[in-house]
């Protein structure tokens, strides 16, 4: 059933929505490749975009494990992201007011530990609450975290932020200096275009390697966890918490585990961001990040990890793609006979609200017309062997019994 061994069968096996998503992903990849080869898109910036997309995918995984699997409405995504970023930044950066100078890998574990503690601190009071109360309470507590980061200058540098964060591989044997040692390459895919691959490119490539590793590990863990009995309990809680309780499950403990797991993955995204951007500030804890991630998860399909991956990529396209709009001033459509001239200064001067508008409309349209998202979970929740070899006669037999047509 692989894509490569049997592409036709694979295509025929997909639902309509999956086909649409696959087609648009392929088209988008071709577009990006064309941009790369013609030199319109610099390779280093492209790798930066891949890194950001991976970061959003991690955040979406984290939220998906909370909302998609256990039905927890967590509006404090930005807080965990920020804690992850600040955790590693304060441990490893030169300008850190408290620790500083440690290896980033130490920062990674400190950040995860702090995020775990914060998840417990937020989870213990709020996870007993009704779903909609949890939404409000977690948004409020995220705001408290943001205010603390902004105002406790002696701990976090306040609004000045933390500068001088090292690359993730600082202090590692080979990888730390790899970008400097790699030879500068000049690639000429077409005559006339020239791609220069130098130290920044190799550095960005290493960052992409980090985020791919993070995403891969998280995806693997979540996939395994959600197919396990533990994951089945979570889905039961999401569907009907009273039922799970009637079956003797301590739903509070399960929800807490799911909440902490998701928060750790969000913090992991923050750690990556700190070593990608090399600067963190309280602005990174803005609640709008939370809503971006929500859009990614809803768009992808709540409870679906590959959907979360897809949603993360779409969000980055919206976030970074709208940046290009600010360069537009006018657009001339030359039809030969008449030349239509559009004044686009309105768009270029309103990029930020346009992005908001796009996100808002996306949320409303999705919730109104396709609340299950583009790639709702289907087969991925069941062990593959169960789907691949369906017992051929069972279905008809079950139907017969249901309709009261038993053999006797």
């Amino acid at each position: 059933m692989g894509v490569l061994s049997d592409p036709k069968g694979y295509w025929a096996d997909l639902t309509r929505a999956e086909r649409g998503v696959v087609a648009s992903v392929v088209a988008f990849a071709v577009l990006l490749l064309a941009g790369l080869l013609t030199g319109a898109l610099s390779p280093t910036y492209f790798l930066f975009l891949v890194g950001i997309a991976g970061m959003y995918a991690l955040l979406s995984f984290g939220l998906n494990s909370q909302w998609g699997f256990s039905g927890l409405i967590n509006f404090s995504v930005a807080a965990f992201f920020g804690i992850g970023a600040y955790g590693t930044a304060l441990m490893s950066a030169d300008s850190s007011p408290i620790a500083g100078g440690y290896l980033p890998i130490v920062g990674l574990f400190v950040a995860l530990a702090v995020a775990g503690v914060l998840a417990l601190a937020i989870g213990i009071p709020t996870l007993r609450l009704r779903a909609d109360y949890l939404a409000i309470a977690s948004l409020g507590l995220a705001e408290v975290v943001r205010l603390v980061v902004l105002n406790e200058r002696q701990l976090t540098n306040g609004s000045a932020g933390v500068r001088g964060i090292p690359q993730f591989f600082e202090g590692w044997p080979v990888l730390a200096t790899l970008p400097q040692q790699m030879p500068g390459l000049v690639v000429r895919p077409f005559p006339g275009t020239e791609l220069v691959l130098e130290t920044p490119f190799w550095g960005a490539l290493l960052n992409v390697a980090v985020v791919v590793a993070f995403v891969g590990v998280s995806y693997g863990i979540l996939r395994r966890a959600h197919r396990s009995p533990w994951g089945r309990v979570l889905r039961t809680i999401r569907a009907d918490e009273d039922l799970a309780r009637a079956l003797g499950k301590n739903t509070y403990a399960f929800k807490m585990q799911s909440f902490v797991l998701g928060s750790l993955i969000m913090a992991l995204a923050g750690v990556f961001y700190a070593h990608l951007n090399l600067f963190v500030s309280p602005g990174d804890l803005d609640p709008v990040t939370t809503f971006y991630v929500w859009v990614a998860v809803i768009l992808g399909g709540s409870g679906s990890n590959r959907g979360a991956l897809f949603g993360g990529v779409v969000i980055v396209t919206i976030r970074e793609g709208t940046r290009f709009l600010s360069g537009l001033s006018e657009f001339v459509l030359d039809l030969g006979v008449v030349a239509l001239q559009f004044d686009l200064s309105f768009i270029s001067s309103n990029v930020a609200p346009l992005r908001f508008l796009l996100i808002g409309v996306l949320i409303v349209v999705l919730m109104r017309y396709r609340p299950q998202g583009m790639l709702p979970p289907q087969r991925e929740l069941i062990w593959p062997s169960v789907v691949d070899d369906p017992p051929s006669k069972l279905e008809s037999g079950v139907r017969g019994v249901k309709a009261g047509e038993s053999d006797e």
Binding site: D132, I136, A137, L141, E143, P353, G360, V364, M367
Partner: protein, 319 residues
């Protein structure tokens, strides 16, 4: 100083109360947490801003405010109500979704309102073109610095809240609304046209929010984020008072507003700032200074505490 803080707390609470009543009404009758409520306030504020710019002062004034401002206030209320009703008709009405789905949808609506306002007016702060007044002379000896505008805000809020009280207690619509907030199914089988009551709830709730937005603009400044920034405080007020209880929302709004403005008192409490000197084994310099920058954080912590201890709020029934 405390008197002065109490006075500004009273002004700020008037604004919070106007917002929280609408949020509570919609929460109990439309049955979801409306995250677009704050941005409905912004809509009202900017509608009034445009109107005030167009009609100008219109001659004589009341409480330091020209008549044109009250015309603008009215327009702001109407605009907020119209926008909310149109949104309800276009988006929420046909959704047939649970309260969680509606909640998430309302976040999208909030973004849309804010984005459109920001496109029209820019992200910068603006002000109503009214003269800034000096504090009332007669109150200065007591250390209270309030302007006539502040008095106007409080008086208008009292009039609006008073008329809502009269509406709820003495009119047919009010009785229907209370019945529906109590038990929508029962209200429906007793022949109440619940659709129509729901529509009126949106009109009243959003209208009050619009007036709150106008006063917020008068009290501070206008910006596209003003409503969203206030939203969590309003939620705190609604939850403190008890969701679904209009009178609880009034009380909760009053308390949250006053507590919010009283925060400077906290940083003066000796025990908090000199904790290290009093406790053994703790460095002398240790102390918790809760400055004015944590005013909102205190409200959010109160909100979570209320949710834990008394989820039905102070005015609601105990669990």
């Amino acid at each position: 100083m405390v008197l002065d803080l109490l006075a500004s707390g009273l002004v700020f609470s008037s604004i919070i109360v106007l917002g929280s009543i609408g949020l509570s009404l919609i929460y109990s009758i439309a049955n979801f947490a409306n995250f677009a409520h704050g941005d409905t306030m912004t809509v009202g504020a900017y509608a009034a801003f445009v109107t005030f710019g167009a009609v100008g002062g219109l001659g004589f004034g009341i409480l330091g405010l020209p008549l044109g401002f009250f015309v603008a206030l009215l327009v702001g209320i109407v605009a907020a109500a119209v926008v909310a009703v149109v949104t309800e008709k276009i988006v929420y009405d046909g959704m047939n979704a649970g309260s969680i789905e509606l909640l998430i949808t309302s976040i999208g609506i909030a973004f849309i309102y804010r984005a459109i306002i920001q496109m029209g007016f820019g992200a910068d702060f603006t002000r109503f073109d009214v003269q800034t007044l000096r504090p009332i002379e007669a109150l200065l000896p007591y250390g209270v610095r309030v302007t006539l505008h502040d008095v106007a805000i409080v008086v208008s809020a009292i009039i609006l809240v008073g008329s809502l009280h009269a509406l709820l207690q003495y009119t047919d619509l009010g009785r229907k609304m209370r019945a529906m907030a109590d038990n929508p199914d029962l209200a429906r089988v007793s022949g109440i046209r619940t659709d129509r009551v729901k529509l009126w709830t949106w009109i009243i709730g959003a209208g009050l929010a619009g007036s709150g937005g106008v006063f917020l603009g008068l009290y501070n400044q206008l910006s596209p984020r003003m409503g969203f920034n206030l939203l969590l405080l309003i939620f705190a007020a609604v939850i403190l008072g008890g969701i679904g209880s209009v009178y609880g929302a009034m009380l909760g709004g009053f308390l949250i507003g006053v507590i919010n403005q009283l925060t400077p008192v906290l940083s003066d409490i000796r025990f908090l700032t000199e904790m290290g000197a009093m406790l053994p084994l703790v460095p002398d310099s240790f102390g918790i200074v809760i400055g004015i920058e944590y005013a909102n954080a205190i409200a959010f912590v109160i909100m979570v505490a209320v949710l834990l201890v008394r989820p039905n709020g102070i005015a609601g029934e105990a669990v």
